[in-house]
């Protein structure tokens, strides 16, 4: 029983006393209860034990890892760090992958205090979309231009630009469409209704660009213009086809939020019009300077 799961449990010398006791206890229980139930219970118990320990550290993503030896904290000499790192490297991933469920009516909110501008969100996004839209390049190319989330550095603040799901207000503007959707002359930029579209990419009520209909930046560019003139900066263009790109929230399962090492990207369904969050990059940066440093700058 316990042999069967030894590959999933931590290496012998790394098992803490608590883990060992918990594991042993489960093994006894499962021996009584029987095969199938026991085989599920064992890894689950280990997971819980490890999770409780891991909460003390910085783990924010689904991957659960063991705590860092505290020696790293107090003695960080070159040599000691090096040896300590060797211990750090023995990660134990026990958590089974949880099946993600798409979130409807959600948007991405970026915390400017937590964000370090490391661009891991953009790397993840670009990788996601190159597979979908340029499979011929996906095997050997990394190109941030395919990313729909675009961090921009304004020296001491980082602004992460992404679509904020703005909508027009019917009573004032005569439409409840997204502004970019409203000005699109060909209907290329449209909302894919809930329940339709490709899982993990588009659908579930999010924006999507039909590449066959889009006229591209050279001939058109209305979506970009209205977004940057009146709202934020959520539109980018494919560097190869020159067609518009917009965040489709990965159909409600955004990869950027998973990739963020700081937990700075939240996926929320705030139940209000996203346009209240939207600002063009420089305005957003100017506001962040006010929030973070208490100064007014003209960027």
């Amino acid at each position: 029983m316990s042999e069967e799961h030894s590959s999933e449990s931590p290496p012998k010398d790394r098992i803490s006393r608590r883990q060992f006791v918990a594991g042993a206890a489960t093994a006894i229980v499962s021996a009584v209860v029987g095969g199938i139930v026991g085989s599920q219970a064992f890894p689950k118990t280990v997971t819980e034990t490890v999770t409780r320990e891991a909460t003390k550290t910085l783990t924010s993503t689904a991957t659960v890892s063991t705590t860092i030896p505290t020696t790293v904290v107090s003695t960080a000499t070159k040599e000691v760090t090096k040896t300590a790192t060797k211990e750090v490297t023995t990660t134990v991933t026990v958590t089974p992958t949880v099946k993600k469920t798409p979130i409807k009516n959600a948007m991405l909110l970026i915390n400017p205090v937590k964000c370090t501008g490391c661009m891991l969100c953009a790397f993840a996004c670009a990788e996601h979309w190159i597979k979908e839209e340029h499979p011929e390049l996906a095997g050997d190319t990394i190109n941030l231009e395919f990313s729909r989330i675009r961090p921009m550095r304004f020296q001491y603040v980082d602004v992460v630009n992404v679509c904020y799901q703005c909508r027009l207000e019917p009573y004032a503007e005569g439409s409840d469409k997204h502004p970019c959707e409203q000005v699109c002359p060909t209907g290329a930029l449209h909302t894919v209704p809930e329940g339709e579209g490709k899982e993990g990419y588009y659908g579930n009520g999010y924006l999507w660009v039909d590449k066959d209909k889009c006229l591209g930046i050279d001939k058109c560019g209305r979506c970009l213009e209205v977004c940057e003139e009146q709202f934020g900066s959520g539109i980018s263009y494919d560097p190869i086809t020159k067609k518009a790109q917009v965040c489709s929230m990965c159909g409600g399962m955004p990869v950027c939020a998973d990739a963020c090492p700081e937990g700075a990207i939240e996926v929320v369904a705030p139940g209000r019009n996203g346009r209240v969050y939207a600002e063009p990059p420089e305005a957003k940066a100017e506001l962040y300077y006010m929030k973070l440093f208490g100064v007014r700058r003209d960027l």
């Binding site: 860092i68 790293v72 904290v73 040599e79 790192t85 990394i142 231009e145 213009e225």
Partner: protein, 682 residues
């Protein structure tokens, strides 16, 4: 060249005099031999004859290069390096993090080489294949932070802006048009997707230790690359790339990369305060803190060091963290200065990091209470400690804004302060500025003089040793020069040599970037394990060629030889890149760097005229702290160090004088560019 992976196979040669751009396509063997970054840059300095002592550093013939390695771009922890002949005449390899190197790779280049001199101030705009030389007259004289904000918005890729408005009222609903019609005047493209390298006023005025800066505070430190850019009338380089990077084995590359990032995420040390975390410990445990021009290396009262500890700085001033692309260590912290002094209050800067808190904080005497010495008990409270922090941050901010190196600069000002303390000079020698220990207003005034090269500032702008010789001659007192703390006529950075818990003085003598603190192998050096030290130095040399971060590699251990070799293979597809090739790159780096400085400075006897240029203080007893009385691992005997130095050269396979032999150069495959130079000392 066939399809290139990792690298792009193209280097742009930009001639500012002729306003012409040509493309160089080096042979693949050149890449394999020199890898990229620092070593590839040095190869071109030899090949093009810049190494010759007849090429003046400030002449148009000198070549300023920014070079990338095969991992620059998609890999995390990447940096940029400027390679040129330093204003001091020796080799300039100067590194910084930031996003711009990644953007240059994504624009499709392996490096830029800038020669000639522009008639008027210019900046270079790189937008993928297109390279333009544009006017920068309006930005000349502006500080690094302000000028960068402006330059960034001037360079846009064709896919991110429209110069004519296409939106009309017919695209919108009538109600919408009524309240907010389209504005045809408003420009589209308010984005900041470009990266910038630029100089501040110090570089423009050719201060010898001026830096090339990016992102407001990330400086290509030391050795004066900024002055070389200034001598070419080059304000900056702005890069926007949309082409991405091709990798030979992307899946493998990403899996190693993810491993590294995941390990980084668990590093409490780096993720908490960066190098700000070592301040207290450098003082009380390692006793390697530069205090008052290295007269002390730790304080008697540990509380004095409290102001420069990570947690204290965090509580008092850290606002947020900032990372280089793909890095989960985020060693940089953005801070805001709070002080009762209106001159300093409200300034926005970064942490200070370890070198800044050492060379500016401890070295200028900011930490002690007024009238006290480092041997006195600390009498202040947390507000006094916060003022000491503010002074350090303010001075760092000035250096960054003007684009000037605070290691050489901090050492220079501390040297002047010690001369004043010992009565060699007074305010009358410094245009009326009274440089008392800890006086931030006097420091502010002298920095502004150096940047403008006004009055005495014109002398000081030539660095520590030139200044020392100037005062020695002016006062007729040759002993003044011994207070200049440094080696190879260049300032010692903030890691002490006397306690043998931080650095072995031999390390500073052997590194090829004069007196650098990031040469690698420090632990082995302190144990006098010279073979281990050479291995460490060669490793660091390879990371400098790749160009990856020392925090993530040498100091953090996230990159080791094995995963670097795998990463290079995955990026480039060079199946023959193995451990031997890896180490040879390090050996080439050391051979070329050593020969460059010796030849360029017309050194007759490498040991006597170059290696023996270390200060006597390295071997004097420590006056305070846990290692009181310590006089380095050599117990105060420079001859013992020189014996180790001879052993070191032997282990490197060099001559007794520390020159690579003919056989060594042939083994390394660099005899064609270096043998003619090396033979003068054989």
């Amino acid at each position: 060249m066939a399809e290139a992976y990792g690298i792009t196979g193209k280097i742009a040669r930009i001639d500012l005099s002729k306003e012409k751009v040509t493309v160089i396509e080096p042979d693949i063997e050149v890449y394999k031999k020199f890898l990229g970054g620092a070593t590839l840059g040095m190869y071109y300095l030899f090949k093009e004859g810049i190494v010759s002592p007849d090429v003046d550093p400030f002449s148009p013939e000198n070549m300023l290069q920014v070079m990338l390695g095969p991992l620059n771009g998609a890999a995390p922890n990447n940096r940029s390096v400027f390679v040129t002949k330093s204003p001091y005449g020796f080799i300039c390899l100067s590194f910084a993090g930031g996003q711009t190197a990644m953007k240059l790779r994504f624009a499709g280049w392996d490096g830029l080489q800038i020669v000639g001199k522009a008639k008027d101030p210019v900046y270079i705009a790189v937008i993928d294949d297109k390279i333009e030389i544009r006017d920068a007259s309006d930005l000349w004289g502006k500080d690094t932070e302000e000028a960068e904000m402006e330059l960034k918005k001037r360079v846009l890729a064709p896919i991110e802006y429209k110069d004519v408005s296409v939106l009309t009222k017919y695209d919108m609903t009538p109600q919408w048009v009524e309240i907010r019609p389209p504005d045809p005047e408003k420009t589209i493209g308010a984005k900041r997707l470009a990266g910038v390298w630029l100089i501040g006023p110090a570089g423009e005025n050719k201060v010898w230790f001026a830096n090339i800066v990016t992102e407001g505070f990330r400086a290509h430190g030391r050795y004066g690359s900024g002055a070389i850019a200034g001598s070419k009338n080059l304000k900056g380089i702005v890069v926007r790339g949309t082409k991405g990077q091709k990798l030979a084995d992307k899946a493998k590359f990403l899996s190693i990369m993810n491993d590294i990032v995941n390990k980084e995420k668990q590093s409490y040390f780096w993720r908490s305060y960066g190098t700000a975390g070592i301040g207290y410990w450098e003082a009380v445990a390692k006793s390697g803190f530069p205090i008052r021009n290295w007269q002390w290396e730790s304080w008697r009262d540990p509380r004095t060091a409290k102001a420069l500890t990570g947690p204290f700085m965090d509580d008092a001033s850290f606002v947020r963290k900032e990372a280089c692309p793909g890095c989960a260590l985020h060693c940089a912290y953005m801070t805001q200065i709070t002080s009762k002094d209106p001159m300093m209050n409200g300034g926005i800067t970064d942490m200070p990091d370890w070198e800044a808190m050492g060379m500016v904080g401890g070295n200028l005497g900011y930490l002690e209470m007024p009238g006290k010495t480092p041997s006195d008990p600390y009498t202040g409270d947390h507000f006094d400690q916060a003022e000491a922090l503010a002074k350090t941050q303010y001075t760092t901010m000035l250096f960054d804004k003007f684009g000037m190196d605070f290691i050489e600069g901090g050492a220079l000002i501390a040297f002047l302060m010690e001369l004043r303390q010992r009565g060699y000079i007074g305010p009358e020698d410094l245009d009326g500025i009274d440089l008392k220990w800890g006086d931030v207003h006097a420091v502010d005034a002298i920095i502004r003089k150096i940047v403008k090269r006004e009055g005495i500032g014109d002398v000081l702008a030539r660095g520590l040793f030139e200044t020392a010789e100037y005062f020695a001659e002016k006062k007729g007192k040759p002993e003044i020069v011994q207070y200049a703390q440094g080696c190879h006529r260049y300032a010692q950075p903030a890691h002490g040599t006397r306690s043998n818990k931080d650095r072995n003085p031999l390390e500073y003598v052997t590194v090829i970037r004069p007196c650098e603190h990031t040469g690698g192998g420090s632990g082995a050096f302190m144990k006098r394990d010279l073979a281990g030290a050479i291995k460490g130095q060669n490793f660091e040399a390879v990371t400098n060629s790749l160009v990856i971060c020392a925090f993530a590699s040498t100091y953090g251990g996230f990159y080791v030889e094995d995963n670097i070799i795998e990463l290079v293979k995955a990026a480039t597809g060079w199946t023959d890149f193995d451990s031997d090739a890896f180490n040879k790159v390090g050996e080439r780096y050391y051979a070329l760097g050593r020969l460059f400085s010796l030849h360029s400075l017309r050194i007759k006897d490498p040991i006597e005229d170059w290696d023996k240029t270390f200060p006597p203080r390295w071997f004097e007893p420590l006056p305070e702290g846990p290692y009181k009385g310590a006089r380095s691992v050599y117990n105060g005997d420079p001859e013992a160090m020189l014996a180790d130095l001879r052993e070191y050269y032997k282990l490197r396979g060099w001559t007794e004088k520390g020159v690579p032999t003919k056989e060594k150069l042939e083994e390394l495959g660099i005899a064609d560019i270096a043998a003619d130079i090396a033979k003068q000392w054989w």
